[in-house]
Symmetry: C2
Subunit: 440 residues, 2 copies
């Protein structure tokens, strides 16, 4: 059996490895337009910010390891088209290549800002590691930068550029940071820590043009010009589906490829995984696109197992998320108050301010947990958190609580570890649930 | 209504506060034999170890705060007896005191080592803060110490004494540290870090006598003498139920007071909470005694609400636990392999070694997760963990998974936060579940 994977990111390599695992005799080929695979693009902002000392450390596996495991990776290769009727793809310089099973993992692109001047030098879309290495030396001489919208990577880049002592102006059309996913009181500490770090913030403002001769010199916005020799494009992720669309594979409302629970697309023997797909949200059934590398990897493995004639299912998502932002960790699951209200969902909230270790133990950090529950089912529909540690683990926990429909009544009486060096007497998740129950 | 609480620990003060909250007009009196309430005894080892700079920092509330909230705390007072027929207690120096509702929160004692010499000076039972202050200056001149059995507090004291540069010998009858709760491969890193810290460890050995004139000079064991001017008694917690037993209140097989889901004892209008009670385990229904301060506090609140004529229920326990041990954090939920085997439970295990942040991110720590599941129900019966961070939050998570009966199949497909600074691509809990499933 010949399995072809288009795309060498987390989804693509997850798929290739899983296909080979499920069907060791299969011939597995991965086509990527880039010079590398198996590195962590999520680590790039932290190398720019000097938390990590070199780009080399972001590589997870060597090219030889793929050769050894029997996966044929074709680097710097462009796939021009897919023909699902003849089960072939057209590869630049290689011609027509047949497949028994095809897995599309073509990933994402930054949404086009759709304003004049996007062709200028000085616009940095953080994504590819080779480009990042080049941009890193540009940062050495950069004086003033504009961050265009507060997406996840852009948020991390904001902190990174300040660590490089670059003057930073953040321009975002929302009323507060990450307003499409986070509630204002939850991100307020982040906004404050950025203010302390000297970040200029322009909320409710929009970039209208990039200006300069050949290179960027300033950015025009609804509220005037911002001088800048660098712009970080932090717009939303959009699916990179030129190939799928041209092949007539069915796309959804988000522009992502529609897949079933086995990551099968509308075309026979064609699977898809990662940021080029859309996945139904577990609470609302609304399709989502542009999730995390962890989601992409798990979807890739599901697609790979099934393409290799194994059997694995992927579930609707509840999207636990988390990140470092300024001096804080932010995180959550599914919907905050802002999103839930926008979706017209009925909900009750419960908030708790707590601490992560005993009050007197060194290094203890504050943490705020906000839970949203459906007042009739008493199940969670989302959570929002900000704190100094333990955000990722709590987001994972609340993700499972949301997915499995555990009620707030159960959460309110959860047992928790109390040991001064690692946990406080009261778990803020339990207290938030108790406070929520008091309103029901 | 007159509500009397005997005992001023976490259970007692949780009960007093909750009783007053549920019934603000109630007269609430707390009798304690100690000079203080509302401090964290769990913090004592860390002050001895100099992680925390003073005992004063362990106090959570002042005596005035209790006065203000209308709770009458009687310090350094001995209750001689309880008469459940006449609903009175006998208080030394105060005489007969009536109650409408009584809450017993008399706590725990270290199990008597039951060997000669326990009356000698130089035997330290870590518990009371005033005594700890006195012992702390003794530690300044202590040269050699023996730790008698590896209970939780004794484990923390082992590290603390080495931080004070005291020569430490740990004598424990078990084959490895905390062998009654932890599996050998899970505690092995702790044993190693203690070895590196210069702790002498004698596993499978037993103290047979404490020797000396007036003060301890050496300890006799099954394998010879150990010179020591200090012995830390780290034996199991046993319930302190002299009063309850004399009053004819029904005790269980552990010696703990039997309570129902509302923390009611066998005597009318008498409640009990905390370490003097026994609570059924959620998996086996076997009664457990000697849980954490967090359990005591939650039980106290339940008893207090019900004594104050409110309504609150306490559930069977699954006991997520965690602690700092040497350079590591240890933790788990319910049963490890050793205990499950001893109980004759049928189980399958799944193990995963993971990391807590992206591999390349500074400060990333290793973490090992071992899950135990019932092969027929596919539900968790326990977990064991060792790692560098995120143990408490994962133990809480797995505690809820165990309690709510979420299957390993669900856990294996959990979503997880991936963001380099706070979480790795693969969550070790999910990988352990996948490895467990592979055996089913």
């Amino acid at each position: 059996m010949k399995i072809v994977v288009i795309g060498g990111g987390a989804a693509g390599l997850g798929a290739a490895g899983a296909a080979k695992g499920a069907n060791p005799s299969a011939e597995v080929t991965v086509y990527t337009e880039f010079a590398d695979v198996a590195y962590s693009p999520c680590g790039i902002p932290f190398v720019h910010g000097k938390e990590i000392d070199s780009f080399e450390r972001l590589f997870l596996a060597t090219k030889e390891q793929y050769v050894k495991s029997g996966i044929d990776v074709r680097y710097e290769t462009t796939v021009d088209s897919v023909d699902v009727a003849t089960k072939t793809i057209q590869v630049e310089g290689e011609g027509s290549v047949g497949y028994d099973r095809l897995i599309l993992t073509t990933g994402w692109l930054y949404q086009d800002p759709a304003v004049p001047g996007t062709e200028l030098d000085g616009l940095y879309r953080v994504k590819d590691i080779r480009q990042a290495m080049e941009w890193d030396s540009v940062l050495d001489t950069t004086k003033k930068a504009v961050i265009v919208e507060s997406g996840f990577i852009a948020m991390e880049m904001t902190t990174a550029l300040r660590h490089r002592d670059i003057d930073v102006t953040l321009v975002d059309p929302g009323p507060w940071p990450m307003s499409d996913v986070a509630d204002p009181e939850i991100v307020e500490p982040v906004r404050q820590s950025w203010a302390e770090l000297g970040v200029n913030m322009q909320w409710g403002n929009k970039v209208t043009a990039f200006r300069g001769e050949k290179s960027l010199t300033h950015v025009e916005t609804d509220s005037g010009d911002v001088t800048a020799d660098l712009a970080i494009i932090g717009t939303h992720k959009v699916p990179n589906n030129r190939l799928a669309e041209a092949a007539g594979i069915k796309l959804g409302t988000t522009g992502g490829i529609i897949v079933d629970s086995h990551m099968r697309t509308s075309a026979a023997d064609v699977f898809a995984a990662g940021d080029c797909t859309e996945i139904p949200h577990g609470v609302t059934n609304v399709p989502l696109q542009g999730l995390s590398g962890s989601h992409a990897y798990a979807q890739g493995k599901t697609a790979g197992v099934n393409a290799g004639s194994g059997e694995r299912q992927y579930n609707p998502v509840y999207v636990p998320w988390g990140m470092l932002a300024g001096e804080w960790m932010l995180g959550g699951v599914s919907f905050g108050e802002t999103t839930a209200t926008a979706l017209g969902l009925d909900f009750v909230t419960g908030l708790a301010n707590g601490i992560t270790r005993a009050r007197y133990y060194p290094g203890t950090k504050t943490i705020t947990v906000k839970l949203l529950a459906d007042p009739s089912s008493r199940q969670l529909i989302g959570a929002q958190m900000v704190g100094g540690e333990g955000i990722k683990e709590r987001a994972d926990f609340l993700g499972m609580m949301t997915r499995t429909g555990i009620t707030v009544d159960e959460i309110a009486t959860m047992e928790n570890v109390y040991s001064p060096a690692i946990g406080a007497l009261n778990e803020p998740i339990a207290v938030a649930a108790q406070n929520l129950l008091a309103k029901l």
